[in-house]
């Protein structure tokens, strides 16, 4: 039985409505980031339109303009804007910190994970299943259970509050996903490919690096994107392991102070932080489900 035209339109409307509901928090967030102070804190009701859009929140968080300068530009409103403590809202360093850590941990994860994934896909050895299960079990480790000792360990090793330290722990958390996901991509390449290369005189390393790896580059890219996004969005470990290096999620959480919650700056930095994630995730749509299920479901 074919659905009627009216049923199809009803379905379309419902689908659009559902997706719109899910988009609302993001839209409200982005809208808030260009609102002046008074529109954000309007107690009489939600402000959708009728305010004068301002780039000031972005100027403070992304360009490092001081809030005093902006207060002076605005003259009369200055008194209301300048209160709220001496917290630094210039977030350029945080964006850089987050980027360094995300790129570093993605690179380290891929390096270790491609080796392990190729081996687990191609070789057979006793204890292989247990090894895989061990790696998987690391994915299920609650960060809180390892972070406390890591704080002490990093203090002794001088890794506390360093890029290296955070790169290492973000890699640790990303490794299970990366290994299982890459293994599933290697499994897609027939073993005959390896055998042919080996017969032609290539060594095992050459077969891996020059023959098989290039064949799964789409999968490696998808894995890299997921690792990057994870590191970019990670909160708990960064919060516990750093004091002066502040990744973006941790930096944002410091904008909530006992005297004021600076929603203008929070939404501006938050919007800036989610845009790269959105671009990246749209690039790897094709492999997303495989990534989310650690390689166990293929599209």
């Amino acid at each position: 039985m074919e659905p009627s035209r009216a049923q199809m339109i009803a379905r379309d409307l419902l689908a659009v409505l559902v997706v719109a509901i899910f988009m609302f928090p993001i839209a409200w967030w982005a809208l808030s980031s260009i609102k002046p102070y008074s529109a954000i804190f309007d107690r009489s009701g939600p402000v959708y339109t009728g305010f004068k859009p301002t780039p000031d929140n972005y100027r403070v968080t992304l360009l490092g303009v001081s809030r005093v300068e902006i207060g002076m530009e605005q003259g009369g409103e200055a008194a209301g804007v300048i209160k709220g403590g001496a917290n630094s809202y210039d977030s350029r360093q945080s964006l850089l910190d987050s980027a360094i850590i995300a790129v570093g941990s993605t690179a380290l994860t891929l390096l270790l994970a491609t080796l392990a994934a190729y081996c687990l896909s191609r070789m057979h050895f006793s204890g292989q299943q247990s090894f895989l299960f061990w790696i998987l079990s690391q994915r299920f480790m609650p960060p809180i259970a390892i972070v406390i000792p890591i704080v002490f360990m990093f203090r002794d090793l001088g890794l506390r509050d360093t890029y290296t330290g955070l790169i290492l722990v973000h890699s640790l958390i990303n490794l299970p996903l990366a290994v299982l996901l890459l293994k599933s991509f290697f499994d897609d390449v027939p073993r005959e490919v390896d055998e042919a290369a080996l017969i032609d005189g290539a060594t095992r390393w050459q077969t891996f690096a020059r023959v098989v790896l290039p064949m799964v580059k789409g999968g490696v890219a998808a894995t890299a994107v997921l690792c990057f996004i994870f590191s970019w969005t990670e909160f708990l470990l960064s919060l516990f392991l750093t004091t002066s290096i502040r990744t973006v999620p941790v930096k944002i959480s410091t904008f909530v102070t006992s005297t004021a919650t600076e929603w203008g700056y929070i939404t501006a930095l938050g919007t800036s932080a989610i845009i790269p994630s959105f671009i990246f995730i749209l690039l790897v749509q094709r492999h997303l489900v495989r990534g989310l299920t650690l390689g166990s479901l293929k599209e």
């Binding site: 790696i135 406390i148 969005t233």
Partner: protein
């Protein structure tokens, strides 16, 4: 004779068998070292800590046997946090699964424009959870939050008792953030499962005159069993160790009403009582291992 020397020399210099590329060792050694040093060693350290006690005078850690564990089991705040975590996990899982199935069915069509809707549905997944927490904090603020405004307008809640100040609504506030961010996870996985289903059984069912609901309950759902099991396992584990939203949205409040186990452990850590914090964090781990192993066995999940 010279060749013999050559061969002997070569074999003398060759790498031991386990170091060659034909052996798993060189491939797996780097990751193993990494997981041992930063995964297993800290875990062992946590266990060690959980059998010690801070000596306030000497500032040393003294061996204390099961002191911390006994303390945890008689700590009503721990039991409350465990209960909150379990309630949180079950409600979030149930809602996310139900909504995930419904939305996946809604979006599972080849009609024009639905590709864009499916792509948009993935966006919440990549918002940093700390930012998600902030989004829902902003929307649920007692005096200027957009969501609070509509909830007041509909007379669901009195403005005198803002969302985040009451135990039940504060927990719902965190759940809402979680449901918003992770329902798309279920949607995507179930969509992929739906797309991979064979066509024939559905054609047969249609010929036999099965209606939509019958087809869904008797055919679609059982065939999606494996997919759903994987999704529930991964989501369940993440839910049970929830920290970020609680930290940002309620900080465990009002009082300790919305404290989850991970959050309680973190809070103890920040008071400086590391042995007890480690003990609490191990309870998270132990419950997680127990429940997830049971689940894997019951539903025969394979990776």
């Amino acid at each position: 004779m010279s060749t013999a020397t050559f061969t002997r020399k070569r074999s003398g210099w060759a790498l031991p068998r386990f170091m060659t590329a034909e052996h798993p060792f060189p491939w797996l050694a780097p990751i193993t070292v990494m997981l041992l040093v930063f995964g297993i060693y800290p875990l062992a350290y946590s266990v060690w800590l959980s059998f010690h006690k801070r000596n306030v005078v000497s500032r040393q850690l003294d061996f204390a046997g099961f002191h911390q564990w006994a303390r945890a089991f008689s700590d009503t705040r721990m039991w409350h946090a465990l209960e909150t975590t379990l309630i949180y996990t079950f409600i979030a899982l149930a809602v996310q699964l139900a909504l995930g199935i419904l939305i996946a069915l809604l979006l599972d069509t080849d009609r024009k424009g639905y590709g864009i809707l499916r792509a948009l549905m993935t966006l919440p997944l990549v918002v940093p959870p700390a930012v998600t927490g902030m989004m829902f904090l902003l929307m649920q603020d007692g005096s200027f939050g957009v969501l609070s405004f509509y909830v007041y307008a509909l007379n669901l809640i009195s403005p005198a008792q803002p969302i985040l100040t009451q135990p039940v609504t504060a927990l719902l506030a965190i759940l809402l953030a979680d449901i918003w961010q992770w329902t798309p996870f279920m949607v995507l996985i179930i969509l992929a499962g739906l797309r991979a289903l064979p066509k024939e059984p559905f054609e047969a069912a249609a010929i036999d005159g099965a209606n939509g609901i019958q087809t869904f309950l008797r055919l679609t759902l059982p065939m999606l069993r494996k997919v759903i099991a994987v999704a529930v396992l991964i989501r369940g584990v993440d839910l049970f160790r929830i920290y970020d939203y609680v930290y940002i949205i309620t900080a465990g409040g009002p009082g300790t009403a919305t404290e989850t186990l991970s959050f309680y452990a973190g809070r103890i850590y920040f008071t400086g009582d590391f042995p007890y914090a480690a003990t609490l964090s191990l309870i998270v781990l132990v419950v997680l291992i127990g429940v997830s192993n049971l689940f894997v066995k019951l539903f025969k999940v394979r990776f």
